[in-house]
């Protein structure tokens, strides 16, 4: 560490002065910048149509891919399925994550807190694909649940390859993200606030409604936006638990790029996905205000 500091002192004798914070931004901006370059290329190819006879892309630009995408019912089905799924998953996830995070933050027992944290992180180590595969084992026609149902004489139920299965898998996948984003927001609410609400006459539900939820708003919106965008663009859960019948936008894009090899049409779908996602997040931010994300100085700081 000392050696590192020594090198730093030689390379940066005055600590860089006022420019330092901006210089430290450069790596992050470069990474994001690369993404933008990729997006520009995708934008470019979205304007070129595939000639089905030669399998070459047209030289000149046209909006043909977009026209095709927006005239096919299939596109709307997929966008609607993705958007609706994202909203449902976000709402269910937040409802489940809130008490989990609250309990984790407020419990007096270090043991309970650790248990909750481990239960939260364990699925992280497994990864999305393996986890989805695990659900196949549990929910499949010859899976654990149907075996158990069989023992009491119930015919196997079709628990997989439908919309609820995808939603279920996504909620399960998103829960840790939501909890981890909510926990700091709830930690920032002093416990005294709840005692105060009680002493002023509020019961636990009124305290939740009038004090805890409004004060947790930045955390709720932040984790809501993260869950919403991650769900909207998810690939693995619809692919594995939907079994090809419940494709989200990302699955459709994958098909265009790697199955049909229509890079132009896939690019157009990508741009539509990016536009949809941006629109949704934009509406969310415009509704609640960027300030609610607790950027800048917090309103919760009294005195």
């Amino acid at each position: 560490m000392d050696a590192l500091e020594g090198v730093f002192a030689v390379a940066w004798p005055k600590g860089g002065g006022k420019l330092t914070p901006y210089l430290l931004l450069v790596p992050a901006i470069s990474v994001v910048g690369l993404l933008v370059i990729g997006l520009v290329y995708i934008g470019d190819s979205s304007l070129r149509t595939l000639d089905r006879t030669t399998f070459l892309f047209s030289e000149n630009y046209s909006l043909e891919n977009y026209r095709r995408a927006l005239s096919e019912g299939f596109t709307y089905t997929i966008i609607w399925r993705s958007l609706f799924g994202a909203f449902v998953v976000t709402i269910i996830t937040l409802i489940l994550a809130f008490p989990y995070a609250y309990m984790m933050v407020r419990t007096r027992s270090a043991l309970v807190r650790k248990a909750l944290l481990i239960a939260l992180f364990l699925p992280f180590f497994i990864g999305q694909v393996v986890r989805a595969y695990g659900w196949l084992i549990i929910l499949g026609n010859q899976g654990i649940i149907n075996d158990a149902l069989g023992l009491i004489g119930i015919e196997p139920l079709r628990l997989l390859f439908n919309y609820p299965a995808v939603i279920f898998g996504l909620v399960q996948y998103m829960l840790p993200f939501a909890v981890l984003m909510l926990a700091p927001a709830l930690t920032a609410i002093p416990e005294e606030m709840e005692a105060a609400a009680g002493s002023l006459g509020a019961d636990w539900f009124q305290t939740l409604l009038h004090v805890v939820l409004p004060m947790a708003k930045p955390g709720l919106i932040g984790s809501g936006i993260v869950v919403l965008t991650l769900t909207l663009t998810d690939f693995a859960m619809p692919a594995i638990l939907g079994g090809g019948t419940q494709d989200f936008i990302a699955n459709a894009i994958y098909d265009q790029f790697f199955r049909t090899s229509d890079q132009g049409f896939g690019s157009a779908l990508t741009i539509i996905l990016v536009a949809t996602g941006s629109l949704v997040v934009g509406i969310a931010l415009a509704t609640f205000g960027a300030g609610t994300l607790a950027l800048g100085k917090s309103e919760n700081e009294v005195r």
Binding site: P190, E192, M193, A195, A196, A197, G198, S199, L200, G201, A202, D203, Q206, H210, V211, P214, M215, K217, E299, N300, E301, V302, R303
Partner: protein, 388 residues
């Protein structure tokens, strides 16, 4: 308004059984494992009084307040508010207003919304709420600032919102959990007087917790001093200051010199003691019940307040004092309105004696190293049992 309901019950009770104390604690213990946070605390507080629970940190004063508020349940013993056991009532149904240490104002509401909160929760008639909120904001002198968010108010203004919010629903009891501790001295002293004014204006029974002895003397009708989980003394401020019951109270309030000595004899209220090489006499606070324990030779502690000691230049002996000794000025501390002389008096005390100067003509005339006469009267010194 359901709010009115408890009152009728209480009025009924007071008619039947005579005046019920606003608050009473009976042999309250709070134990965590083998550690007593509060030990055998009993007291009664009359309606409309301002009580301060005073003590150093860790003395159990906050625990006692939290039990009165109902946030903690005593291990044994019981606390009654207007004759009703605190824990028999759900937290949000109690008629207790509380100003919290960190105020706990709701940052997402305006000053007026904060004050209206308890009225909405307690289902006051919605039409009367705005007027009532304004009336209480006026009481705390915040009219005109009702639409400010909490973070747009100064520290003192936030204190006032917290007071208005705790009082607006007309609680039977107001609890103050050291809300002034974080303020700077000038603002703190201003707010102490505000607390007193508002309390007198509304006549609400109030219990304040603090470690600030000056605050306790300024605001209260009654003071309870706590130390090591136990109530040391429960008295009116003047009585507490003039007749502390034990050396702890004597030294915790005011600036007090303590000498260790041995009892020579006790005659009535006067005790003769041997301090160093000197035989002194003082007011006996040895108690009357167990005289036999205090035979000649028993260890005693003598407490003498810094302002009771007179000081004069060498060669101008003090004439109106029962005792007089020669000492040497070790230090002079200037505190603005007063000056403290730290004087070595070898025959009496191993530690230097602290003396407040209160002779205006002689002000600032003694210097370090100077020889002086110091003296006091029998009545000024209190003699306590040696083991406190």
């Amino acid at each position: 308004m359901q709010h009115e309901l408890p009152h009728t019950v209480q009025e009924h009770a007071s008619e039947t059984f005579g005046p019920v104390p606003a608050v009473s604690a009976k042999a309250v213990n709070m134990r965590f494992g083998n550690f007593y946070a509060v030990k055998n605390a009993s007291f009664q507080l009359e309606q409309g009084r301002f009580l301060t629970i005073l003590g150093p940190s860790g003395s159990g004063k906050t625990t006692l307040l939290r039990m009165i508020a109902g946030f903690l349940t005593p291990t044994s013993g019981e606390i009654f508010i207007k004759g009703e056991a605190v824990n028999a009532v759900a937290a949000n149904k109690r008629a207790i207003g509380m100003v919290f240490q960190k105020l706990a104002l709701f940052p997402h509401m305006t000053a007026a919304e904060n004050v209206a909160f308890p009225l909405k929760m307690r289902r006051f008639d919605a039409r009367t709420i705005p007027d009532r909120v304004l009336q209480y904001l006026k009481l705390v002198r915040l009219d005109g600032l009702e639409n400010r968010r909490i973070h747009e108010l100064s520290g003192g203004q936030q204190q006032r919102v917290a007071i208005a919010r705790a009082l607006v629903f007309e609680p039977d009891l107001l609890l103050l959990d050291e809300p002034l501790a974080a303020l700077d001295r000038k603002l703190r002293e201003e707010m102490q007087l505000e607390f007193r004014r508002i309390q007198k204006e509304l006549g609400v029974t109030t219990i304040n917790v603090t470690h600030d002895q000056r605050e306790a003397l300024v605001v209260s009708d009654r003071i309870i001093v706590m130390n090591n989980a136990e109530i040391q003394q429960n008295a009116a401020p003047i009585q507490m200051y003039r007749s502390p019951e034990n050396p702890f109270v004597a030294t915790f309030i005011g600036v007090t010199n303590v000498f260790s000595g041995k009892l020579v004899k006790r005659v009535g209220d006067t005790a003769s003691v041997l301090v160093g090489e000197q035989e002194l006499s003082g007011q006996s606070r040895l108690g009357s019940s167990n005289i036999t324990r205090f035979e000649s030779g028993a260890a005693v502690k003598c407490a003498l307040r810094a302002e009771q000691i007179r000081i004069a230049r060498e060669g101008k002996p003090l004439d109106k004092t029962d005792f007089s000794f020669t000492g040497r000025i070790a230090d002079v501390i200037f505190e603005g309105e007063r000056q403290i002389y730290v004087v070595d008096v070898p025959g009496v005390s191993a530690d230097p004696i602290r003396i407040f100067h209160h002779d205006q003509d002689e002000f600032a005339t003694h210097h370090i190293g100077e020889l002086v006469h110091v003296g006091w009267n029998t009545n000024d010194m209190h003699v306590y049992a040696g083991i406190s």
